[in-house]
Assembly symmetry: C2
Homo-oligomer: 221 residues x 2
């Protein structure tokens, strides 16, 4: 089956779980498609599946009382949702919300099957732990960046990671503010400065990089 290969390519550790431990990933799990903009979990939700993202992307973020948001991380193909995984094991309230940014194809492994695999396959456990470790590192890195890095650096980094001279970034200043945990006005000001220096070209909903090296130079410190 085509899907099997895709999955095993995306999740190399599962490959081992299948070949060494005889885990039949597909037998007791279900492929699901979730349309863009769907909230897949929020605070206090119960969770009944272990989710492996095959295609598309999920945005995980928190919201403050005053409405400000900050993106914690994205789950893209090859990633799994550790928050719902935690939920599977110790059922606590998670202070975050997950929304699909695009149509998402995922493999849903039901809780009892997940638990069985955890007991049977060392490779499966490794896969699960690996995603945990990954998230932990990403979150720690995020704390570090928020606390220490200046906004112009973080913004330049984002621009370089999400666009190039030929491929403009299609996003709003508001979305960027959420992504970086800042405020729209601050992002607008900073982008305007970049534009004045001739590093980017701004249009409603679109940012074009016009001087890659200058932006990269900011990061070089």
């Amino acid at each position: 089956m085509e899907l099997t290969n895709t999955i095993l390519q995306l999740f190399p550790k599962l490959n081992e779980a299948v070949s060494k431990d005889g885990i039949n990933i597909l037998k007791h799990s279900q492929q699901i498609t979730i349309p863009e903009g769907t909230t897949i979990f929020h605070q206090g939700d119960q969770c009944l599946n272990y989710l492996l993202v095959i295609a598309g992307s999920v945005k995980v973020f928190t919201r403050a009382e005053n409405g400000r948001e900050i993106v914690l991380y994205h789950i893209s193909s090859g990633g799994s949702c550790v928050l719902t995984t935690s939920c599977l094991i110790s059922s606590e309230d998670y202070p975050a919300e997950g929304v699909t940014e695009t149509d998402v194809v995922a493999l849903a492994i039901p809780k009892p099957v997940f638990e069985q695999y955890m007991g049977e396959s060392k490779a499966f456990r490794k896969q699960v732990f690996h995603s945990y470790g990954d998230r932990l590192i990403k979150l720690i890195t995020l704390v570090e960046e928020i606390s220490f890095a200046k906004l112009d650096i973080r913004l330049a980094k984002y621009l370089l990671e999400n666009g190039s001279v030929n491929t403009p970034i299609r996003t709003t200043h508001q979305a960027l503010a959420t992504e970086l945990g800042s405020a729209r006005e601050v992002i607008s000001r900073q982008l305007k400065e970049f534009e004045n220096k001739g590093w980017v070209l701004l249009n409603r909903g679109k940012i074009e990089i016009t001087n890659h090296d200058a932006l990269a130079n900011l990061l070089a410190h």
Copy 2:
């Protein structure tokens, strides 16, 4: 043995692992004592044990290039070190450092024993996962606080959690800044404001709360 009872009280899930799954926690693990101020891990360290903290406290923090630090979390009795746990499974570089804040008594479970327990005992897995989930939540909450909460609120919260009208807090402004991810001068200014309002009394290395309710009222928003 006295120690067994202490451990099983601190880690209720392990209790189950012992009684239901016949795991002999003490047989293949070692009780260790680590003096105050010891670095138990930093970036890139290899880790050979799963650590359960029985007594004392470990501070986990990151350091920026310019020397500024922020405390990510503390591990106290009943906690385990998930960063080293991650390290046990997927060996990546962790962007954090762990230092004992007091003398620490810990149970060290060697990597092979840890892996065996993970395969054998559902309760043991639960214990491990539970600490992971906990950390994840704490880190997300930290991101939220750093991003959204004002410093006076966070400072007041810290003061109330770590002292009372009768028990002064023994710490420096610098340590407080690290704890909250701010700068010493900022903490000093804010504390001085609290003092001017008659909410605290400041002395070198000591902060006394003189008006609990006023501080608590700040939190109530």
